[in-house]
């Protein structure tokens, strides 16, 4: 596999390894590969929200599978990032129900506020804005996902607040 351009410090801590072992225990002993998706989420969360080739190889080693088996999964599912993303990844739902309730305006507002285009990351590495497909919050539109949580019924004021909170480090992104 081609090595990734960006360097990533790989650290499978004791607590992360314990969690990985717990996830593996959810499947029969000869089906360790089944734990791949949940394990990738845990590993990505512990590594600045992205998975370098080297990190994917590490996951392959832990699950006793070939690196290509990890790579083909990482490249299929949208939640795995193969490149670094901002510390706060704003993923706006852009599908119909959100679109007709102002999602496009909300994405434009957020991008203007942060001085970036959709898909880009701010220079300080704090924020990435992405349009994503239906997140299952259709009745609470417009909305975005940040880490493990949804922020719904968005207004420009709410977006301002979330950005301010993120800058101050006051937003919970993971439920660990």
């Amino acid at each position: 596999m081609e090595k990734t351009l960006h360097k990533q410090n790989i650290n499978i801590s004791e607590s992360l390894m314990a969690r990985i072992e717990e996830l593996i225990s959810h499947y029969p002993a000869d089906k360790r590969k089944s734990a791949l998706l949940p394990v990738l989420h845990e590993v990505q969360d512990a590594h600045d929200n992205w998975l370098s080739t080297e990190l994917q190889e590490k996951v392959a080693e832990i699950l006793e599978i070939k690196p290509i088996e990890v790579f083909e999964v990482v490249s299929f599912y949208t939640m795995y990032n193969q490149k670094p993303v901002g510390a706060y990844h704003f993923e706006f739902c852009r599908t119909s129900c959100c679109m007709i309730r102002g999602a496009e305006d909300m994405i434009d507002y957020t991008c203007n506020k942060l001085g970036i285009k959709e898909g880009e990351t701010t220079a300080d590495g704090l924020f990435t804005v992405t349009g994503v497909e239906c997140l299952g919050a259709c009745g609470y539109a417009p909305m975005m996902q940040v880490g493990d949580y949804y922020h719904e019924h968005l207004t420009p004021e709410k977006v301002d607040q979330i950005i301010a909170d993120a800058r101050a480090g006051n937003i919970k992104i993971h439920d660990k």
Binding site: S34, L63, S96
Partner: protein, 455 residues
């Protein structure tokens, strides 16, 4: 007020926790099932109930259960499909978020009926906080002796785990879901063999939707016949409807099947009518995959009968004048919505979500998206409408899984019912340059232009 089966306890404070759930009659269905019923008796009750799969396809649940291979002696699995990703649908999330033990209880009773000792709940990765809620609920259930070895001294063993996906609509298709649960890409399998014979790890497997499984405790505690008494004709029981779009009260509602669309739309108890009292233009009644209905076919069928919230009434008239109940993703559009833009939006979704195995879907969804985008942006060509029709007709029925059909149907229905809007975009490109073109000037106000000028 219709009967509630799933949401009757949802407003009890603390119902999310094991103790409160148990104090309010929770896990009584497991007690009854394990002490007083055989697995086959439960399956019979579910058959009698007439409960149809609530994920969207509407296949009778009891019949699906009866297909599971019990002769091979292989381990069997029940997998709950909590991959809820059909645009417009957010009901399963509501159940799992607010009353997670109902699903856990349903999984135990259903696993017992199917003879499964290892079952999973497959939840979409984006619902990560719900995944954690379920993980905690399952831990509580283990601690209270409802899961694990020799449950409540019955001799029945069950391990239940929650497994998360990672962002792929296609994993809602049951064989793609199984692939994903095996740690692979979500590519649907060619059938047969069906999962009931060869599913998870080649073992006999049943995949059921969250809402379907959550109905089972009630059926066990009451009876299949009681369940069948609720609803309307062959549409038995209640249905969770996720309502969104241009309505006053978006949200999740449990309705008794048979309620009229008119009452559901306009009663204050439900959607409360149109947001800002703007005119109703269109309805997608069952998630993005089902045909869109124009205003005149929403409250009445083509035969001028009241349109009801049932599987039969919503599909009355076939695709020519009807739609489907589907997942219950009820999306309402007012006159500011642009059908072309909405259809493009849906096509972009299907293009993004196509797994890429079958060329008609992989390529066709992309072509649909591109052609729709150029029409929507005032660069459409006269022949584009026929081109769209041709593409969608060549995707439908030509793919391994139903994602191809799901991508084709919305395009076909939009052209069938709103052809003049497509023509308007092509003939008056300067009028559609702004993406909110119908907000300032709804189509009804500019439609007269279509008669004045010819190409």
């Amino acid at each position: 007020m219709g009967q509630k089966i799933l949401l009757d306890k949802i407003h009890i404070p603390g119902i999310k926790t094991y103790d409160v759930y148990r104090q309010n009659g929770g896990y009584a269905a497991v007690e009854k099932a394990l002490k007083h019923m055989t697995p086959d008796e439960i399956t019979e009750e579910v058959k009698t109930s007439g409960l149809k799969g609530r994920g969207g396809a509407g296949f009778p649940m009891g019949m699906k259960w009866s297909f599971i291979d019990k002769k091979s002696g292989k381990p069997r699995h029940l997998v709950c499909n909590a991959d809820e990703s059909e645009p417009g649908t957010f009901k399963d999330r509501y159940l799992m978020e607010h009353i997670p033990h109902l699903l856990v209880e349903g999984m135990i009773v259903s696993s017992y009926a199917l003879g499964c000792n290892l079952s999973y709940i497959y939840i979409r990765g984006e619902y990560m906080w719900v995944y954690k809620i379920l993980e905690r609920a399952i831990k509580e259930a283990y601690a209270a002796g409802w899961l694990g070895k020799n449950i409540q001294g019955s001799g029945y063993d069950l391990d239940l785990h929650v497994h998360c996906g990672a962002g792929a609509y296609i994993c809602g298709e049951e064989t793609a879901l199984i692939e994903s649960l095996e740690g692979k890409r979500g590519n649907p399998r060619i059938k047969p063999p069906f999962p009931a014979i060869s599913g998870l790890w080649q073992n006999p497997t049943v995949v059921n939707n969250v809402e379907s499984i959550s109905n089972v405790p009630w059926i066990v505690l009451n009876s299949g016949a009681d369940y069948a008494n609720i609803g309307h004709g062959k549409s038995t029981g209640t249905k969770l409807i996720s309502a969104s779009g241009h309505i006053k009260n978006p949200g999740v509602y449990e309705i008794e099947l048979g309620l009229s669309v008119d009452e559901f739309m306009n009663s204050d108890q439900y959607l409360g009518g149109m947001m800002n009292d703007r005119p109703l233009k269109a309805l997608v009644p069952g998630g993005s995959s089902v045909p869109i209905l124009p205003a005149h076919l929403i409250y009445k069928t083509a035969a001028n009968e009241d349109r009801l919230m049932t599987y039969e009434s919503l599909s009355d008239g076939g695709f020519a004048t009807g739609s489907m109940l589907g997942s219950g993703g009820f999306i309402v559009y007012n006159d500011t919505a642009c059908i072309v833009r909405n259809t493009w939006n849906f096509s972009r979704f299907y293009h993004h979500e196509s797994c890429g195995q079958c060329s008609p879907c992989r390529e066709g969804t992309g072509w649909l998206e591109k052609v729709l985008w150029r029409i929507e942006n005032g660069q459409g060509r006269e022949e584009d409408i026929e081109l769209l029709w041709s593409i969608q007709s060549k995707i439908e029925g030509n793919t391994i899984c139903p994602l191809g059909d799901a991508a084709a149907w919305p395009v076909a229905a939009a052209i069938r019912h709103f052809r003049d809007e497509f023509e308007y975009h092509i003939r008056f490109p300067e009028k559609v340059k702004d993406r909110n073109h119908f907000t300032a000037e709804p189509f009804s106000q500019v439609q007269h232009l279509m008669h004045k000028q010819t190409l």
